[in-house]
């Protein structure tokens, strides 16, 4: 029996597999498919303080081995979430993480504060990196100073452990990761989607209603892996890796690159039970390689 548990310091997970925000609804959407307690945990869809309408459709376009979305963080807002959804999630044994959004620093803090006053959450993931909200995909995660300020402000507003989710749409991701660490974040998760677009040849219009969107799926995996590798070497904090993970082999690459846990995103759309398949695949791989504890492989990438 392989020990799949991993320790993030502030959080012990029964296995390293978390479902990623924006691909797992509020969690309950996946209840018909399997027992959510089998997961390491899941991150619910991004929450703003107020309900949010989201972007105009079309919101999805498929590209080779990838998916560009411009959902625009449509959602119910914190009040309705805490009233109607969180009590259901609180009954679960698995780790439930809320994804915190904001139009400006104050809103991030208000959302974090509101969520912290309710039972059922194991941590907050600070979404300073969604490319779909402001024009041109701007967000705090695009520079270290804004990242530092936002993380600092949210830290003051919550007692829950804080994971900062980084954007790949930067020239130097390590500097942003270090800023989050310095500001008191307890973990780093990366990567969010890559700012992208697609054009219809007949109409010459962008295929997304919002013109640009965020690319996810296997197409981005090598970039995500590289960034996780870079950040894991630079920070002392635990790193949660994601970006195009579809198989246990993908997950293992991220862990070897230095991720202490991983998140599965777009794969949940294709196979609602993708996370389970990956958890089982990790156990099978470890057994085959006579590894007793999956945590042994974290950061074991061999560089000559």
């Amino acid at each position: 029996m392989v020990d799949l548990s991993v320790d993030l310091g502030f959080l012990k997970l029964r296995n390293p597999v978390l479902a990623a925000s924006g691909t797992f609804g509020y969690g309950l959407e996946f209840k018909p498919f399997y027992d959510l307690n089998l997961l390491g945990g899941f991150v619910v869809k991004g929450l703003y303080y107020n309900p949010r309408e989201g972007n105009r459709p079309p919101r999805l376009v498929e590209t080779p081995s990838g998916l560009i979305n411009s959902i625009g963080l449509q959602g119910v807002g914190v009040e309705k979430f805490c009233r109607e959804v969180l009590p259901e999630l609180a009954k679960l044994e698995t780790m439930v993480i809320a994804n915190v959004c904001g139009a400006e620093e104050d809103e991030y803090a208000r959302v974090a504060e509101y969520l912290s006053q309710h039972k059922g959450l194991a941590a907050l993931e600070l979404n300073i990196s969604c490319p779909n909200v402001k024009e041109g995909g701007r967000c705090p995660a695009q520079n270290p100073e804004a990242t530092y300020r936002t993380v600092k402000k949210v830290k003051q507003a919550t007692s829950l452990p804080l994971i900062t989710k980084l954007s790949p749409n930067v020239t130097d991701i390590v500097s942003v990761a270090l800023a989050a660490e310095e500001a008191g974040s307890q973990a780093i998760s990366l990567i969010n989607t890559l700012l992208a677009m697609a054009i219809d040849l007949e109409t010459r219009k962008p295929k997304l209603g919002n013109v640009m969107g965020g690319l996810s799926g296997p197409a981005i995996k090598p970039i995500a892996l590289r960034m996780v590798f870079q950040v894991a070497r630079a920070v002392k904090l635990p790193v949660i890796g994601m970006g195009g993970i579809f198989t246990a082999e993908d997950a293992l690459e991220f862990m070897i690159a230095g991720a202490r846990a991983i998140q599965v995103g777009t794969a949940n759309f294709v196979d609602p039970d993708a996370c389970l398949r990956i958890i089982q695949g990790l156990a099978d791989w470890a057994e085959k390689h006579h590894i007793e504890k999956i945590s042994e492989i974290i950061g074991t990438v061999q560089i000559d």
């Binding site: 105009r56 081995s65 998916l67 579809f246 777009t266 294709v270 609602p272």
Partner: protein, 266 residues
Amino acid sequence: MIIDRKARLIKVESSKDYHLLSLESPEIARNARPGQFLMIKVSEGTRPLLRRPFSLHNAEGPIVEIFFQVVGEGTRLLAQKKPGDALDILGPLGNGFSLKPDFGSQEVFCIGGGRGIAPIYFLARELQKTGVRPTVFYGGRTETDLPLKTRFETAGCELLISTDDGSAGFSGLVTALVEKELERRRPAFLFACGPEPMMETLAEICQRHNLKGEFSLESIMGCGFGACWGCVKKIKKSQEAGYLKICQEGPVFPWEEIVWQEAENG
């Protein structure tokens, strides 16, 4: 919601670029209702990446059927499947048409435009089981765009055909045929599925004639079960309009709740 990783393809019927696939999937078939849909994996690999949505064309015994036109890479791959192949399907999904109202001996119109005819067959058959004899309107560009004509006739439906070029049946749009028919009779309810311009015109007709009805909407979908928020349409419930998920809150909506593109942009 059931994931059937081994739904056996038992029959393929093709006509031009239209295809009718019969799949053995007992559990999904047993739970299926007209207006619901399936998400089908068309490729083993990551290209295309996502499943494709197909409305249920029929469900009978252990068999579910889909009817589709090749319009892109996903449908092209699906059209190449052979009897004996096992498909990975997810369903039944979505709300489906409401068959609750007691139509009795009243008229019910079922309108399908192009490949939008797909769910109308299942609907018409279920209506027949409740004693209703629905009138099916089936419109296409030209005669060869009406491959299901015989199927509806065999099922004993009253079938009215239209083609844009007049090569079969009424010459003109299916919506004009509906208008013409409304001059002499009035349905208690109207169901429709087809291209958006067709349904928008139908909504105008329903408004003018004060008719009740439900339309089934089509969209690109990420997941099919409410997780991605990718397939939304602006829907107006009690005066307030917002983006609802076609996969979960739909794909069937009362016509008066649907906010059409023009209104949305304006």
